[in-house]
Symmetry: C2
Subunit: 376 residues, 2 copies
């Protein structure tokens, strides 16, 4: 196996995973299998040294010497030195020093980095560098903290909707204030940020908006309409995500909405029942499809069941495995995945229920800890 | 000029800038100069259509037809369909339909996308697609909203430090609670999130920690030590950033700290004085260097003035122009840049003062609206 090379900031999940470092600017990781060399500027050197002290198999390398050499060479040619691109040249110089001629970089590597490395005579292959799909105990503990934040925020929104009065035009009112998507989102975010989680995007859509699965949602929420709340916060300290969705309704739902919700719940249960180490992801998706087909719910390009059943969660909100129709990936114990069927019709609105679960050898452990209830 | 091609989510600044859309998943933009084609899946089609309704020069294209064709072709070969990579194939198919043989992609394009397009016979050049450095009035208004959030958070932290008592071991105490980096950060974040801003990273370092410019900071803050607060929030709704830093001290600073702070203030003023449309960025940096040299502050690899003087701010926290030693970019009216000199010594700690200003034809307009005061 060729050496692995990463040029990225810690926002890149592979970089975070491979180094454990939280660094804002791009830096370099060379993983030879025997050792992981972390190449940083003087700006990060002290911090990186301290963070990796005592961790086996790491070596922190100050790249200022290489940087200066490249800067000088470029100034002679009158070219501008740009940081994003100089890193690839530094990596190339270091690889040559170590007599490494070929590397594998992630498919998400920057095109400019790959191009520059190739120009410098390095052979570059593209592949996934690290399989992060099976989580360690420590990772699951970190994800549970994010779960706790998500659950608190979700419970708070549910409590507000439940405790609100029905005012003019059936609009919900809570403590004298109109209950809007924005209002609930602000409440939820306050609780998340107190728990060191961020959530720039947060779906709280309702009524016809909810018929579009990715619609963020806005405006006054009314009694009787579906309210889809999809929360996916990320820990600002560790970078781990959690993902969960509930669909609720203040007051009595229409028969059509009730039926649609019951179908999604049954489909989610059917999907969850298939979750177990050794199962192909497609099997889970098809269990969901079967329920919808049996209940007579049709899917077109724009309505019905128009997304996949789930995905892995970890240092990325969407990561392997992917649970869709033709999914051939085989579940392993320790994977953390979502099961999130939904039905979307313009006339009724959307319904989605999403739990994040830990795959085990005998089934799964539900991490979501929040009841599924339609009517509040 | 070849057509511009982007395959990215709206978190990519060029994509956000070129389309104005806020879409979580990757999608495709083809900008032929005459028209901007936005290629999305059915999941985003309705939203994208509504968001771009009435905007001239845009056309939203549903790419499901291409996607299905690729999926089928791949299934025949037994390969897995992966979303990140299928987008490049969709783009290639669409380019062929339009008889476009060459495109320019950003240097930050994903390597896998470039590789796949090249395999499909498309010529791909790498370049910056859009020059975002000169801001429109609307952009500046959006940045001012983020500024308002940053200023409120900064003022709150300053007020807490100022209003705190000096307790055991000179540690600051506010309303019975120890004043730590974490405590201030949580307070600041609450105010930011109320204003729809996120700030996953936020420097509140103090004492010897502050000698490392990128140290996030932690633990109990003491009287007499430098406290470096670097706030760079981002609007969750518009994606714009703002950037500002203040260095303060509760109680009397040491003579060394006072001198260091005065030098940084003078250097910042000297830098600001040079800001004007038509000036090369290097001129600004050298004005800062001159002050430090005259005052006898030395710079080594790890101590002194170890970073550049500033950068553009907008849809990225660091964007063009870059204000450093050899900076040859010429300032233009409408650019929004930081001027942020600092001095870092292990024995004293760090001092940094950072203002974000709008470049004008005659000088600059300071957007920062926060006094520079050392002793609180």
């Amino acid at each position: 196996m060729a050496a692995k090379l990463l040029i990225a900031a810690s926002t890149d999940a592979e970089m975070r995973y491979a180094t454990g470092l939280a660094i804002t600017d791009q830096f370099i990781l060379l993983d030879t299998g025997a050792k992981r060399y972390v190449l940083v500027s003087s700006l990060e050197y002290g911090r990186a040294k301290r963070a990796l002290r005592g961790k086996r198999g790491f070596e922190v390398v100050l790249f200022d010497k290489h940087y200066d050499a490249i800067k000088k060479a470029r100034q002679r040619k009158g070219a501008k030195v740009r940081k994003g691109s100089v890193l690839a040249l530094i990596a190339a110089a270091y690889l040559k020093e170590r007599r490494i001629e070929a590397v594998v970089m992630p498919r998400t590597a920057l095109a400019i980095h790959v191009e520059q490395l190739k120009c410098a005579g390095i052979t570059v292959g593209l592949a996934r560098l690290y399989d992060r799909s099976v989580k360690t105990k420590e990772e699951i503990e970190e994800m549970k903290k994010v779960r706790d934040a998500a659950v608190v925020a979700m419970q708070r929104c549910i409590a507000i909707i439940k405790g609100s009065k029905i005012g003019n035009k059936k609009e919900l009112v809570h403590k004298g204030e109109k209950v809007t998507s924005e209002y609930l989102r602000a409440e939820a975010r306050k609780l998340l940020v107190e728990r060191e989680c961020e959530s720039p995007e947060m779906i709280i859509s309702h009524g016809t908006q909810s018929a579009y699965p990715h619609e963020e949602g806005k405006g006054a929420i009314k009694a009787g309409e579906p309210i889809v709340m999809d929360f996916f916060p990320r820990s600002m300290t560790t970078g781990y995500w959690f993902d969960m969705t509930r669909t609720v309704c203040k007051g009595k739902p229409s028969d059509a909405l009730r039926k649609q919700w019951d179908a999604v719940k049954e489909a989610q249960d059917a999907g969850l029942k298939k979750v177990r180490a050794g199962v192909r992801t497609g099997t889970i998706h098809r269990a969901v499809l079967d329920v919808f087909a049996r209940r007579g719910y049709k899917t077109t390009t724009e309505e019905g069941y128009i997304h996949s059943t789930g995905h892995g969660v970890g240092l990325e909100i969407h990561e392997a495995p992917s649970i869709h129709d033709k999914g051939t990936e085989v579940l392993k114990a320790g994977m953390v995945i979502t099961i999130e069927p939904g039905l979307y019709y313009r006339a009724v609105g959307g319904v989605r229920l999403e739990n994040t679960v830990l795959v085990t050898t005998t089934g799964y452990k539900d991490l979501t800890r929040t009841e599924r209830v339609l009517q509040l």
